[in-house]
Amino acid sequence: MRAEQRDRQFEILLGQLLRIGFLLSAAVVLAGGLLYLIQYRHQSPQYQMFRGEPTDIRYVADVLRYALGGHSRGLIQLGLLLLIATPIARISFSVIEFARQRDWLYVTTTVIVLAVLIYSLASS
C-alpha cells in the first residue's frame, strides 16, 4: 500500500507538470497568434496545396532564432515546441522517479520511450 500511495503522489505531480507545460505553451501560442493576426490580417492563407513549411521553422534551433527575432509564426512554433516538450519532460521525471524506487524494469521502459521521443525530435 505504501508503494501505491507513493505512486499516487507522483501521478499528481506529473499531472501538475503537464498542466503547467500546457498553460505555458498555450500562452506563447496565443501571444504569437495575436501578433500573427495583426501581421497577416489582409493576406489569404493558402493550405489547399501542400508545399511543406519553410525550413526556418522546421528545426528547434531555427525556431528559437526566428521566435526571438519577433516573428509571429516563429513564436507560435516555439509554443508548439513547448507543447511537444511537455510529455518529454514527463517521461524524464518518470525515469528519475523509477530509478529512486529502484524499479529497473520501469527505468528501462521509460528510457526506451524517452529515446524514441528524442530520436523523433532530433531526426533528419
Binding site: E4, D7, L14, L18, A26, Y36, T55, I76, L83, P87
Partner: protein
C-alpha cells in the same frame, strides 16, 4: 474559399472549439472530427490538417491530465509499459504518412472513423470484474486498485502481449492520421487486457500526449505543422475539450452520442469517396 487570414482563423478556431467539445462529451476525441472538418470544408491539404490535429491531441492530453490523475483511477505502470508500443508505432506511422498517397490516407481515415462511430454507440460490458491474477501482468506490476464507495476495487490485467500489439497499432494509426485512436485503445485495454473502463480511459488520456509527441517531431521536420493553422486548432480544440470535461458529469450524452456517431459515419463515407476518387 478566399477568406482573409483573420476570417479563416476565427472560423477554424470556432469549428475546433465545437469539435473539442463534442469529442470530449461523446468520448470520441476532437482529432477524429478536425481532419475531415479542415479537409472537406476548408479544402486544407490533408497533411497540414493531420499536423494541426496531432498538435491539438497533445494539448488536450496535457491540459486534462491534472484533473484525470487527481481522480486516482489511472494506472501509471500500465501507461508507461504500453507507451513503449504506442510511441514506436507512432514513429512508424509518421514515416508511413510521408510515403503513402494522400488518397490512401483519406480512405484509412474514413475506415477508422466508421469503426470509431460504431464502437461509440455500442454498449460494452465491463469485463474487469472477477479476473484471476495473471502471471506476466503480475511480473510487470500491472495489478492495481481504485476507490469505490464500497472500498477499493482490485483488478488484474491480463493478455499483455495482445494488448501490447494492439497498442502498437493504435500508435501507428495515431502517427498516420494525427488522431488519438481512442477506439483502438479501448479494444486493447478494455477488451483484450480486461482493464476497468475508468482506469483505461484515464490511463489512455495520459498516454496519448507521449504517443502524439513521438510523431510530432517527425511531422515538424517534414513541414506538416503550419503555425497559422495549428494555432487556432490547438487553442480551439483544447478549450472545447476542457469545457466538455467540466460539463460531462451532469450531461445526458446518450442522444448526443448517437447523433454524433451518425454524423461521423456520414463524414467517413465522404472521406472514403474523396480518397477513392483521388480528390483529397
Amino acid at each position: 474559399m478566399h477568406a482573409t487570414t483573420l476570417e479563416f482563423t476565427l472560423l477554424v478556431a470556432f469549428g475546433s472549439l465545437l469539435a473539442g467539445l463534442l469529442g470530449s462529451l461523446t468520448g470520441l476525441g476532437g482529432g477524429v472530427v478536425i481532419v475531415p472538418f479542415l479537409t472537406l470544408l476548408f479544402h486544407v491539404d490533408i497533411r497540414y490538417a493531420i499536423g494541426a490535429s496531432l498538435i491539438s491531441v497533445i494539448a488536450t492530453s496535457s491540459g486534462a491530465a491534472a484533473a484525470y490523475l487527481r481522480e486516482g483511477y489511472s494506472n501509471m505502470r500500465v501507461g508507461m509499459l504500453l507507451e513503449v508500443a504506442t510511441s514506436v508505432g507512432a514513429v512508424c506511422g509518421a514515416y508511413l504518412a510521408t510515403r503513402i498517397p494522400t488518397g490512401a490516407i483519406a480512405i484509412i481515415f474514413g475506415v477508422v472513423l466508421l469503426y470509431s462511430a460504431w464502437t461509440s454507440v455500442r454498449p460494452l460490458p465491463d469485463l474487469s470484474a472477477g479476473q484471476p491474477p495473471d502471471r506476466l501482468a503480475g511480473l510487470l506490476k500491472l495489478d492495481g486498485s481504485y476507490p469505490t464507495p464500497e472500498g477499493r476495487f482490485e483488478y488484474h490485467p491480463r493478455n499483455v502481449p495482445a494488448g501490447f500489439s494492439l497498442m502498437y497499432a493504435a500508435g501507428l494509426l495515431s502517427g498516420l492520421l494525427g488522431i488519438g485512436s481512442g477506439a483502438v485503445k479501448v479494444l486493447a485495454m478494455d477488451r483484450a487486457m480486461r482493464i476497468p473502463f475508468k482506469v483505461s480511459t484515464t490511463t489512455s488520456n495520459f498516454m496519448i500526449g507521449v504517443t502524439a509527441a513521438a510523431s510530432a517531431g517527425i511531422y515538424l521536420h517534414r513541414g506538416y505543422i503550419d503555425p497559422g493553422l495549428a494555432m487556432p486548432v490547438m487553442l480551439g480544440v483544447a478549450a472545447g475539450a476542457l469545457a466538455g470535461a467540466r460539463i460531462l458529469p451532469g450531461a445526458k450524452v446518450r442522444t448526443l452520442r448517437i447523433a454524433f456517431a451518425v454524423a461521423i459515419a456520414a463524414i467517413a463515407i465522404q472521406m472514403i469517396y474523396k480518397g477513392v476518387g483521388g480528390k483529397i
